[in-house]
Amino acid sequence: MTATNTFGAPVLSLLIFLPLLGAVGISFINRRNVGVIRYATLGVTLVTFLWSLQFYFNFDWNNQGMQFVDRLVWLPSLGVQYLVGIDGISLPMVVLTTLLTAVAVGASWPVETRVKEYMILMLVLETGMLGVFTAIDLFAFFVFWEAALVPMYFLIGVWGGPRRVYASVKFILYTMAGSSLMLIAILALGLSHAGGPTFDLLELVRQPVPPGTQALLFWAFALAFAVKVPLFPLHTWLPDAHVEAPTAGSIILAGVLLKMGTYGLMRFNLPLFPDASRQFAPLFAILAIIGIIYGAWVAFAQRDVKSLVAFSSVSHMGFIVLGIFALNAQGLNGAVMYMVNHGLSTGALFLLVGYIYERRHTRELSAFGGIWATMPLYAVLFLIAMLSSVGLPGLNGFVGEFLTVLGAFRANPIWAAFAALGLILGAVYLFTMFQRVFFGPITDTHNEHLEPLNLREILVAAPLLILMFVLGIYPNLVLGPLQTTVAQVLQMVGTAVALR
């Protein structure tokens, strides 16, 4: 792998730290000027989003290595660097992050308490997430990884629902438990590198560690990522965190933070520990399949719309892990595509659930029914997001699902059979939910006069819904730049020849 920067300027670092700079700026605004703070934050996230598009258009699809690389020696004695770059896997994640953060800020207009702190935390969170998706040095990666953790803790804990304290502590304990062992593994990996200590991923992948050590280090990394994904049976923090988080928190959590786990598996576990990855792939695939079916099953039983969407995430993230550990081109391509799709569709679902919650202050399925009659536009938007989540051909979700299941089939047809069962269950619980909320007679008089969607709400949801169509028709927008990177990852894992 190579590392290049054709710009000769730190364009990527500017992207990563733009939100942080914005946060510093906003800390100087008087807290009473709530409107100014809101618009300033939205402005910062929009500028960040536009700046991230620039990377998409200037990305060289045929370049195998890292692009837009910035490098700064941080600790010379240990070879620790601030080293960031973008390749085909990071590119869609970076754009997804900037888009969803802007959407989340747009969805935060109803937040009335401590707006200043809220907005600052959102921006700090964005810097952390962008760093995670671009760091190539393990030390820098860990710094960003933890930096993304803390703001979310406060977002859930201060602005969350009634059980926010429990949910926020559970969230941080699970994630910290995972990442603390990863720190030890990072140290062990970097310090034992032949030829002097280094934490540069591109250096480390050149000389894989001996297979015996690989297994241990693989698990230390995988545990941190599996908690974040979350992979069954480590998923129990997720429903609490999702249900209690404010709408914007849920959007970011489902849309971006969960992807940090699958991204980590793809970026670090596969290339760094190829032997262990091949060895444990079946185990991870089976856990993923259990998660797919279990998540769908439990989602079906939920009475709260938000926790239904939360459990659907457990199921959907299972597909991504399955795609990764299929260890073939279709699986990996599908996994990345699925990561983008899940960010869009689940982000949109949480956003839309938030809209109705703000009107009714409940999310119980039984409180709704017949909403189509009172809020037709809302129902149509919800239907699109739901169909995208189900995987209807023509919308984006289909492409990702098809590719991951195809990849799984090529690795092991039985996996694919069970995964397909998960697809059907997914349709069942989402359609049932839709039916109970939007169709039938109006059972609750509160639902007779609901305020229609206002312009802000439509504008915030629009980009997600438009992208669902765009990516459904032309998935190559994501898959195109991905090809060379995926081929290279497979080459490192050593399964490219065996399965092509």
Partner: protein, 515 residues
């Protein structure tokens, strides 16, 4: 024989001694004046700053002081080297920050304020002496000196039952551990025939002297008994029982001081005595440290979970923090301390355990003192040191809350803070020495600590305040807070110069390594 050079290099201690006495005398003459405590506080600060400058000016010096007139070549009882300079700076900085944070508090809460300042200066003197002692007699005298001043400071609130209780417990535990330490020192003296650390090392290094004789069986007990004394100052398990009561009862600025200063000095002494006198037994004492570190971290963290008094909670937290520092001691390389460069091309020695301890102490100094400034402020302005007293602090003092949050994150070891760099370094040292289990126990302990640190954060961020009046920190307290906050972040974001400082400071004069 005391030479001119001795005086010159002993200048920081001389300043502290003369200055401390001067403050005591000045207090007598200023008794009648209303502004005397403020004046005395500024005078004391000036004395400390002078001592700090004198210490920093000796950066790079490596000399043994107070050599015997009979044998001018033999090393004396005190040494000024990179290691001493580091711990002198740590000791004096601690006191300076505590002074800044406590000027207002002392004015409001205590009688005999002049003595308070003088005692703090004397404690600082004791700590600088501990850093450079190279003779068992000097070791024990300075240890005892620090203990006695600490007892008095702990019991400073004379009318307060808890303060008295804490002081008495501290004193009783201290007397017993001091006796044990004396015994350990006498064993070592009996085996090696000298109290000078360098002589002891030479005797053990001589293959014809002690090795193989029955006397060898006394060395391990001696190591353990000495560890009792150092462990008492550091508050290592099982010598920690005094600390929760003393921390809770002592005036809060004294608690802040106790949680950093004596701990650092204890580590200085532990490393010095073991590395200089007992390098031949590195395996033995390093192995001992592994066990003590594991128990100290785990017990400190688990007991902290159930605390409701913030000072008590932080007492257990600081026990656990000392456990993390011990991970570095377990990964010590005596060759590095002696100034022998790591082998060429060997990746195994990129991180030195001693440097890890020093870096961790540096990070801990600013982090923990910063946190205690918050505790002092809440105690002084809101009159509470229990968890509910912190409810809604975000609304009452937003900047203080954000700063304290960063200090808590630093104690957990979350980047980009100083605490992360410290942890990174001690864990790295352990991993390089193949102590994976120790590093893993340390990492898991970090997660446990999240539970109770975040309980305070929960109060500060999530709860509604009982009394919403804003807290206004006095200027000196704010200054101390800014110093701690900026250094906590500076070490976390740009650690390179601080790591260099720690790496340079591990060198001790005349450490003997058998090649």
């Amino acid at each position: 024989m005391v030479s001119g050079l001795d005086f010159q290099l002993f200048l920081p201690e001389t300043i502290l001694l003369v200055g401390g006495i001067a403050v005591l005398i000045a207090d007598l003459f200023l008794r009648e004046r209303a502004d005397r405590e403020t004046n005395l506080a500024w005078v004391s600060l000036a004395i400390l700053v002078a001592a700090l400058v004198a210490s920093a000016a000796q950066y790079g010096v490596s000399e043994s002081l107070f050599r015997s007139s009979a044998d001018p070549v033999a090393p004396g009882a005190f040494v000024v080297d990179g290691f001493t300079t580091f711990f002198r700076i740590i000791a004096i900085l601690t006191t300076i920050i505590v002074f800044l944070a406590s000027v207002e508090y002392v004015r409001g809460r205590t009688a005999f304020r002049g003595e308070f300042f003088a005692l703090m200066i004397f404690s600082t003197l004791a700590m600088t002496l501990m850093a450079g002692s190279t003779d068992l007699v000097m070791v024990i005298i300075s240890l005892e000196f620090l203990s006695i001043t600490s007892y008095i400071l702990t019991g400073y609130l004379r009318g307060n039952v808890k303060s008295n209780e804490g002081a008495v417990k501290y004193f009783l535990y201290g007397s017993i551990t001091t006796a044990i330490t004396f015994y350990g020192a006498s064993l070592l003296f009996g085996v090696a025939g000298s109290t000078n650390l360098y002589d002891i090392a030479a005797r053990f290094a001589d293959p014809t002297a002690i090795i193989g004789t029955p006397l060898m069986s006394l060395v391990l007990p001696a190591i353990i008994f000495l560890l009792a004394g150092f462990g008492f100052k550091i508050a290592l398990v099982p010598f920690h029982q005094w600390s929760p009561d003393a921390y809770e009862g002592a005036p809060t600025p004294v608690t802040a001081f106790l949680s950093v200063g004596p701990k650092a000095a204890g580590f200085a002494m532990l490393l010095r005595v073991f590395a200089v006198a007992l390098p031949e037994f590195t395996h033995e004492w390093a192995a001992l440290m592994i066990g003590v570190a594991m128990v100290t971290m785990t017990l400190g963290n688990i007991v902290a979970l159930s605390q409701t008094n913030v000072k008590r909670l932080l007492a257990y937290s600081s026990i656990a923090q000392a456990g993390y520092m011990l991970i570095g001691v377990a990964g010590v390389s005596v060759a590095n301390i002696a100034g022998i460069a790591p082998g060429e091309g060997g990746a195994g020695l990129a991180i030195d355990g001693t440097a890890g301890v020093l870096l961790y102490i540096l990070a801990y100094l600013f982090t923990n003192l910063g946190l205690f400034i918050g505790v002092i402020a809440v105690d002084y302005l809101a009159g509470s040191d229990t968890l509910p007293g912190y409810a809604g602090l975000l609304r009452r003092a937003p900047f203080l809350t954000v700063a304290m949050t960063i200090f808590f994150l630093s104690l957990v070891g979350i980047p980009p803070t100083a605490g992360f760099i410290g942890k990174f370094w001690v864990f790295g040292a352990a991993i390089q020495n193949q102590l994976f289990a120790l590093a893993a126990v340390g990492a898991i302990n970090g997660v446990i600590s999240v539970v109770y640190y975040f309980r305070i954060l929960k109060q500060m961020w999530y709860e509604a305040p009982a009394d919403p009046t804003p807290l206004r920190l006095p200027g000196t307290m704010n200054a101390a807070l800014w110093i701690c906050l900026s250094l906590t972040l500076l070490i976390g974001l740009f650690p390179a110069p601080f790591i260099e400082f720690a790496n340079q400071s591990i060198h001790m004069l005349g450490v003997f390594v058998r090649s």
